[in-house]
């Protein structure tokens, strides 16, 4: 500190709050300036110009030696705006390179590196590999993010479609119920002309489709057996216990059903509702007789 102060030679009082932007000085690249120039600063113009004359090259040195280009800076660069600052440097470099290349061309000296000229580079191949890896990783990251975004949007869209479908389904159901009601009314009005045969059911619907249980006969599968008769075969193939099953047991299983939901088997279907064949009709008169 002492040393610096002497080199600095400013003699600034410590309590003097002339330093601006004290919040940001911890950050690298930010720097603090005095808000007003110090009065004691030395500025020996003659000495500077004298020294410049001492060290400078002769005036008529060719461009080939100097290789320096002066580029006009259009306006003051805002230092704290990284983007514009870097852009200003970039344009300066670009303009300089263009001017230099045109000069080279006018002189007629080779300046472009031929494609078959290989030589040591400033950065090693290993380092450039790292750079490449990083670029690729970044690219991949961007792509993945893009994909995720797309998936999210798709999901949203799918949800909407799903809602739409459900609405449609509900609507259809309503319509069907309505149509059934209509049909009932009509039937009432016409005095149950069609009787209770199944065929009429299906004809009455608007779309001509019959509402019925899938009546596909599955051979060897008990009604209501949801496994599709696979219990029998699977059972046969299964463990030891099933192997020992007797043949007639297997037959009976397939005939009367084994496994699956019991409830459905015992429910009435539209066919069996009015089917009284299974009832023992002889019971009724017997009872009457007994009563009498």
């Amino acid at each position: 500190m002492q040393n610096n102060a002497t080199v600095n030679g400013m003699g600034m009082e410590d309590d003097d709050p002339v330093v601006s932007g004290s919040e940001s000085e911890s950050e690298e690249g930010e720097d603090v300036k005095l808000s007003e120039p110090s009065k004691t600063a030395v500025y020996n113009k003659d000495g500077l110009l004298d020294k410049l004359g001492d060290i400078s090259w002769p005036e008529n040195v060719e461009f080939q030696h100097k290789l320096s280009v002066d580029i006009d800076q259009e306006q003051e660069v805002d230092v704290n705006d990284d983007l514009t600052r870097e852009l200003a440097f970039y344009t300066q470099a670009l303009e300089g390179a263009r001017q230099a290349f045109t000069k080279f061309q006018s002189v007629g000296l080779p300046f472009l590196r031929p494609s078959d000229y290989y030589a040591e580079m400033v950065k090693s191949d290993a380092h450039m590999e790292k750079v490449k890896g990083r670029l690729l990783a970044e690219k991949r990251k961007i792509e993945e993010a893009e994909e995720r975004r797309k998936a999210r949007e798709n999901k949203k869209l799918a949800k909407e479609i799903q809602v739409q479908k459900q609405k449609e389904r509900a609507k259809q159901k309503k319509e069907e119920i309505e149509s059934v009601k209509n049909w009932r009314k009509q039937r009432k009005q016409s005095g149950f002309a069609g009787g209770d045969k199944d065929g009429d059911f299906s004809l009455a619907f608007e779309d001509g489709k019959a509402f019925e249980r899938s009546s596909k006969k599955r051979p060897g599968v008990a009604p209501g057996d949801r496994s599709g008769g696979k219990t029998k075969q699977g059972g046969g193939k299964g463990g030891k216990g099933f192997d020992k099953k007797r043949k007639d047991r297997a037959y009976r299983d397939s005939k009367f059903g084994f496994g699956g939901k019991k409830g459905l088997k015992k429910q009435n279907t539209s066919e069996t509702t009015n089917d009284f064949r299974a009832f023992n009709k002889s019971n009724f008169p017997k009872q009457k007789k007994q009563k009498v």
Partner: protein, 315 residues
Amino acid sequence: MGNKRKHSEAEAAVDVKKDDSAPERPKRTLLGFKNSDEDKKENDSFRVGFRNKEKVLVTCSRRISFRYRHLMLNLVDLLPHCKKDNKVESKESKGTALNELVELKSCSSCLFFECRKGKDLYLWMAKCPNGPSVKFLVNAVHTMEELKLTGNHLKGSRPILTFSSNFDKSPHWKLLKEMISQIFGTPKDHRKSKPYHDHVFVFSIADDHIWFRNYQISCPHGGAQKLDRGDLEKMTLVEVGPRFCLNPIKIFGGSFGGPTLYENPFYVSPNQIRSLDKRQKAGKYAKKVKAKTRRKMHELENPLEVDEFADMWNE
């Protein structure tokens, strides 16, 4: 190459002489026929008359941090005409030591990276042996190792130096420009330099700081050494690094010393900044304590009146 041309021209001159005067055998030397004095002068002025023999010594102080050391090594990579030397102890007498070292290495200028307190980097740029020299504070250092800087170029190809126009505004900038262009420009036909130009240095003054950038020039071309307008338009640059920003502190008349020619009137040393910052932070607690005691005193001075309705609801 120059020698060959000299040779042939000398011969031509000899032919002319043969014509108009008595045959006088020219003396032979190792390089060919020796010319008469007039011819020699003519030839010299026709040739270069100027040869850049700049040699830069690059060193750093002891206890330099790795980042700044890497910056120095990057600069060593960029300047084929430099000589790197061992670290130098940074003390009061370093100026004379460095001057001696530069002379010993037969260099004509010096870049000395001085690291203080392991965090502040100062760069001395000096023309030896008789000045001038500049001391910079280096900010915003990015080394070439950073993966964000994706460019690459030939090691030892001569850079194109570009200066922003505000270098010509005032004498001290002019002097700095001359020094920078001498130190950073690779001499023509330097034995370690490569013949093509594929990178460009930027020196730009913004906010009274000199900003340095290094870009690779990538220019599409069809193998031939010709570019048309379109190729120039298509030229793009890729940054190679390193980056740094120089804040000039002082310019001295001699090398590493001598009369001060310029002082940056706006400069505040990082030590002062830190101490100020610390003082501000230190004041916080004292202020709090002060406020507390003041409050206490105030309360003692103005006691609250006893509230006559205080017990109203307690009955």
